[in-house]
Symmetry: C2
Subunit: 341 residues, 2 copies
C-alpha cells in the first residue's frame, strides 16, 4: 500500500521483477480489490502471487510508535510473514521510520549486531556502484556500531557488487589519521586490525569522493550518512535544474539541446534514482528492503531484485559468520586493552 | 605565500579587489622579491601596499601544532598584524587547520562565544546565496555552540546578503520536531524562544534543500557541515563530468555541445567556486578570511572583498551585541530550567 504512485505502479514493478527472477513467488498485502484489478494487466505475476487483504494503512505521517500498533496494515503483515517464515523477504515503499521500527521489533537484531543499519547503492564515475551505510537508522554511533556497519556493508557489497574483498572506508572530514571523532578513529583502529575479515579496510574518505568509484563500501553514522545522501541528491537536482535553465535561455541553446538530446538521455539515465532503488536494512533476522516512495515500475522492480539477490546469496548467514569473526577479534582486543595504534 | 598557484595569482587577485575597494590598503607578507616582482604588473596595487618579508612558510601538510611555532611565516605575521591593530583583517590561502589554530591563539575567541566557526556562502537556485556554518572547525558541538553559530551566521548574512532578519535553520535528518540529536533539538528550542534576536528561526532543513534558496543561514556541527559541503562539491563535479562524457560520446552530441556552449558557459559560471570564494572565521576578535588554495585571481579578489565588507560593517561589534542578547536569554532560560518545549 506504500508508494506515492499507488498499487498499479507497485504491481507493474513486481511484474517486471518476476520476469527477471522467474522462480520467485509473491504474497501481495494490501487492498485486495485494487491489487486484483491491477493484476489483470499482469497475468504472469498473477500466476505467481497470493493476495492477502489488509485492513489498514501506515500513513507517511505516522510516527513509528503509532504505526507499529497497526497490526493489520500491509507493512505489518508483510514483516509478520517474514517472521513466520511464510516469506523470505519483505519489500515496502512505505514510511521508512515505521518500517525500521516494525522490522526491528518483529525480526529482532541478529546475534553479534548491536544495531541494524540502512544501506543503499549510489552511482559512481567508476565501473561499480558504492554501498553506503548507515543512511539514517542510527543518529549517533559508537566505534562498535561503525565496525559492525563495515562488516555488514562488505557482506552486502560481496553479493551485490560480486566482489571477494570489498574496499571499505570510513566517512570523515579529512584523510589524515588524526581527523574526526574518537568513535571514527577507534573504529578505524579495529578495522585496520581485522585482517581475517573478507574486506580490505583502506582508511578514511571524504564527502567529495563518494562518487569517485575508488571504494566499495562507505561507512558512517546515520546522521552524516543521511546528510551526505540528501546533499548528493539535492546537488544533482540543483545542477540539472541549472542545466535546464541554461538550455532554455536562448533559441540557440534550445537548438543545441535538441541536437544533444541523446547525450542528455544518457546523463538522465545515469542519474535516475530508479536504477539504484532499494535500500536494505542490514543486521536483522530477515531481509527487509525499502523502495523509494516515488519510484516508478523499474525502480520497484529493482528493489524486488535487491531482495531476491540477498535471499539467493543468504545475506543473513553471511553476516552472522563475519560477526563471529568480529566477536573473536573484540575478545582478543579487550585482553590487550584494545590494540589502537 | 599560500595558494596552489603562488604569489602571482594572489597579487593579481588583490589588485582586482583594490579596484573594487579603492580605499583599501594592503600589507603583503611573504617572499619580498617574488611579491615585488609580481607587483610590477600591478602599479595600482603597489601604490597601496607595503611589502613585509617573511622567512618561513606554513606547508599544506603541517599539523597546526607545528605551524603555530613558525612565527616568521607569512600566515603568522599576517594574523599578528591584525592582533597589533596594524591590519583590520587577514586573508590567507594557506593550510586551513593551521590558520584556524593561529587565529584562535592570537586573536582569542570573542566574549560570549565558546567556539569560533568557519562559515561560507553557497550558491542556490534562489535570488540569494546561503550562509552555511560550521564547515569543519568544530567536529562535535553542543546546543550552545549551535545557537552561537546561528547568531554569528545571521550577523554575517545581514552584512553579506544585506538582509534585516535572515531566515535561520538547523541542518537535520528530517523536518519533524522529534528528529535529530538532543543537541539539535535543544538548540532549536533556544533559537525558537530567541525572538528579540535579529533573525528568524524557521526550524530544520535537510541536505537536499541546501541549494533551494528558501533559507539564508544553515547551522550545523563542523562534521556534518564539512560532509555536506564536500558532498555538494563532489556531486556537482560528478554531474558535470557525466555531462562532459555525454557530450563527447558521439559526433552529434559534440555538435550539440558547440551550439550550446554559451548556455554551458552560464552553468559553469554559476557553479564556479571562485564566485563564492572566501570562508570566514566567525567569533574571533578580528576578521580572518580563508581563500581556497585553488582559487584564481577572481576568487582571491572575492575573498578580499568578503574581508573588506566585514570590516566596513564591523562584524565583530555586531556579533558582540547579538551575543549579549543571547547571554540575557540564557540567563533567563536557566532560571526556569531551560524552556525546552
Amino acid at each position: 500500500m506504500g508508494g506515492d504512485e499507488g498499487v498499479r505502479v507497485m504491481m507493474a514493478g513486481v511484474a517486471l521483477a518476476r520476469r527477471r527472477h522467474d522462480g520467485l513467488r509473491f504474497i501481495l498485502f494490501g487492498d485486495e480489490a485494487r491489487i486484483k484489478a491491477a493484476l489483470d494487466s499482469h497475468p504472469n505475476l498473477r500466476a505467481a502471487s497470493e493476495v492477502v487483504h489488509s485492513d489498514s494503512v501506515v500513513e507517511g505521517s505516522d510516527k513509528p510508535s503509532v504505526a507499529i500498533r497497526k497490526k493489520r496494515s500491509s507493512m505489518s503483515m508483510a514483516i509478520a510473514a517474514v517472521k513466520a517464515g511464510d516469506a523470505g523477504a519483505a519489500v515496502s515503499a512505505g514510511n521508512t521510520g515505521a518500517l525500521m521500527a516494525m522490522a526491528k521489533l518483529a525480526l529482532r537484531t541478529m546475534p553479534g549486531v548491536d544495531r541494524p543499519a540502512l544501506a543503499a547503492m549510489l552511482p559512481t564515475l567508476g565501473d561499480n556502484d558504492v554501498v553506503m551505510l548507515d543512511l539514517g537508522a542510527n543518529t549517533e554511533c559508537d566505534a562498535r556500531n561503525l565496525v559492525q556497519f563495515g562488516v555488514m556493508g562488505a557482506a552486502y557489497a560481496r553479493i551485490a557488487l560480486d566482489l571477494d574483498r570489498p574496499r571499505v572506508r570510513l566517512l570523515n572530514i579529512g584523510t589524515e589519521e588524526l581527523k574526526g571523532t574518537d568513535e571514527i578513529r577507534d573504529a578505524a583502529a579495529i578495522l585496520r586490525a581485522a585482517e581475517m575479515l573478507p574486506l580490505s579496510f583502506e582508511g578514511f574518505t571524504e564527502g567529495d569522493k563518494i562518487g569517485r568509484g575508488d571504494v566499495d563500501v562507505i561507512v558512517c553514522d546515520g546522521f552524516s550518512g543521511n546528510v551526505a545522501l540528501k546533499t548528493a541528491e539535492g546537488t544533482a537536482r540543483f545542477v540539472t535544474d541549472l542545466l535546464r535553465k541554461a538550455f532554455t535561455s536562448s533559441l540557440r541553446s534550445k537548438i543545441g539541446f535538441l541536437i544533444s538530446k541523446p547525450a542528455m538521455h544518457l546523463l538522465k539515465h545515469h542519474l535516475d534514482p530508479n536504477n539504484h532503488n532499494g535500500a536494505v536494512f542490514l543486521g536483522l533476522n530477515g531481509v527487509v528492503v525499502k523502495s523509494h516512495g516515488s519510484a516508478n515500475d523499474k525502480g520497484v522492480a529493482n528493489a524486488v531484485h535487491v531482495a531476491a539477490r540477498l535471499l539467493e546469496e543468504d545475506i543473513t548467514r553471511r553476516i552472522a559468520a563475519d560477526m563471529a569473526g568480529v566477536a573473536a577479534l573484540s575478545a582478543a582486543a579487550s585482553k590487550q586493552e584494545f590494540p589502537v595504534k
